[in-house]
Amino acid sequence: MKGWVTQLRKGLLEFCILNLLAGGETYGYELIQRLKKIEELAVTESTAYPILNRLREDGYVTVRVEPSRDGPPRRYYSLTGMGKHRISGMNAYWDQLSNAIESLRSAGRKGDK
């Protein structure tokens, strides 16, 4: 069960990051804080930033750097055109998949009765 949950979380984290960024430009700290509110995802900095970096390398996410008063520049993330296309495809697939799984589960529940 534990291994299955870990694999599921890993895949879902990319999906959640892209969906969060679909809502608009966000800086790293804010992004992580919002993801941390979804307890089931168990997001930490060490899991989220490597994924964000990979998404940037793959061209789905872009980074805008803005100077800050005290400390390093603030880094804002947003979706590229490719990222928007990817998340719309992922969302469509998710809807189909969750509907199909829900049908299976409700058939299973009827069988239990």
């Binding site: 890993k10 790293g28 700290y29 930490t44 900095e45 060490s46 990979r54 390398e57 880094r75």
Partner: protein, 159 residues
Amino acid sequence: MEQEARQTIQQYLDNVGRQLSSSPEDERAEILRDLESHIYEAIEARTAGREATSEDACAVLAEMDPPECYGRAADGNRGSGGNRWTMGKIALGISIGFLLLAVVTALIPGAGRGASILSLIFGQLVALVLGIIARRDPYGKAAAICSAALLLVGILLTA
């Protein structure tokens, strides 16, 4: 922010950097920039305008993953983006393979020097293109450098 707080943050970042030593250089630099920005944002949210102390930095860092986690996470994450890594290895393989083929061809009596040089140039050209595409991973970078050098050797040999 107090100097001691900055040193505490830098120490944490240095430790994370060491954990990411097997990652490509630009990937490591990006993750460290992200983390540095994250830490300063977290401290700012905690201090709300007052000067940040070393205790603030320690408290924020204590809530974050220990540096050891970053190496494991980056390795695991790289697994899903493995195409570039595979391409880098293929490029290096082609470069070495065609070098060996050129050497063997040169040693076969009657095969001729021209065939040897031609196979060297062709193989290194292919490896160079693939190496440039996969330049972000160490294998790709090595393939690009090796094949460029061998290509130059091949061109010089034709002259």
